[in-house]
């Protein structure tokens, strides 16, 4: 791989890594929020 190609590869991998880790974090947060809203709904009936 030439240097330019290494940069392109690095760019793709970095961007995807950041986005996907972010998505995992958001997914976990949403799961927690859904549970909390479920509880709130049960409490208020």
């Amino acid at each position: 791989m030439t240097t330019a190609e290494k940069y392109v590869t690095g760019a793709y991998c970095a961007v995807f890594a950041v986005v996907l880790v972010y998505v995992v974090i958001i997914a976990l947060k949403l799961q927690r929020l859904e549970r909390e809203v479920d509880e709130l709904e049960k409490k208020s009936g």
Partner: protein, 236 residues
């Protein structure tokens, strides 16, 4: 036959894959796809390293089509079965479709610049199709947000989403027809011959993009639903 299709449209709760599990699977699949695309697949004989963008470009395009078709399906469910959840699902699917559609335009444009020296090529059917679809679905959002939330907004959006899915093949045919007129085919692209690793890499990339899109779809849907439920709780 019709009864079978009607059954499909009935809202059935498929075993719901949890959101974090979905997110992690898309992380794994995309990582695998990236590894294959950049480190395993050999260089294309004709175009070299830059051809690798096609694994993204094509898989993202197919994913965008899947989103639009999914959105149209949910729209049909909304109009037909009056499922209260279907309108939001249709909207989110179309939204994801537009996001991936823009990515198709971006990746296609990058490829065009690298391969042919121009940022835009009217001779690339897929690119022109996505331009037309982008215009169409951008108008979807203008339409949707020009109507107050309610049954009318849902109906308008649903009907328009159905028009979109009919437009996809019709537009494609039109673009092919137009090519015969306007552009004698000047740029030829050598199609990939699906030998060895190329097919595997493509399939993994496609699966990765589809799962990734579905994850984003579920994330957005969940966020919007929580929003709505909280609003109701606050009023109650």
């Amino acid at each position: 036959m019709i009864a079978a299709w009607a059954q499909l449209a009935t809202v059935r709760r498929l075993p719901r894959i949890s959101l974090p599990a979905l997110a992690v699977s898309s992380l794994v699949l995309v990582t695998l796809a990236l590894a294959l695309i950049f480190f395993v697949v050999p260089n294309d004989a004709n175009q070299g390293f830059s051809q690798r963008i096609f694994y993204f470009h094509v898989s993202i395009a197919i994913t965008a089509y899947a989103c639009f078709i999914g959105g149209a399906w949910k729209a049909l469910v909304h109009l037909w079965k009056h499922d209260p959840r279907a309108d939001l699902e249709s909207y989110v699917a179309v939204h994801q479709g537009v996001i991936f559609g823009v990515l198709v335009l971006v990746t296609g444009s990058i490829w065009a610049k690298i391969s042919w020296g121009h940022w835009w090529l009217w001779s690339e059917d897929q690119l022109v199709l996505f331009l037309v679809l982008f215009l169409f679905y951008a108008a979807y959002f203008m339409l949707r947000f020009s109507v107050d939330p309610g049954p009318q907004q849902a109906n308008f959006s649903a009907v328009y989403a159905l028009f979109g899915v009919v437009l996809i093949p019709v537009s494609f045919a039109a673009i092919r027809l137009a090519k015969g007129l306007i552009h004698p085919v000047v740029f030829t692209r050598h199609g990939p011959n699906f030998g060895g690793w190329i097919l595997v890499t493509y399939c993994v990339a496609q699966a990765a993009m589809l799962v990734f899109a579905y994850t984003l779809y579920r994330v957005e849907l969940s966020g919007k639903r929580i929003d709505a439920r909280l609003r109701e709780l606050r009023i109650a």
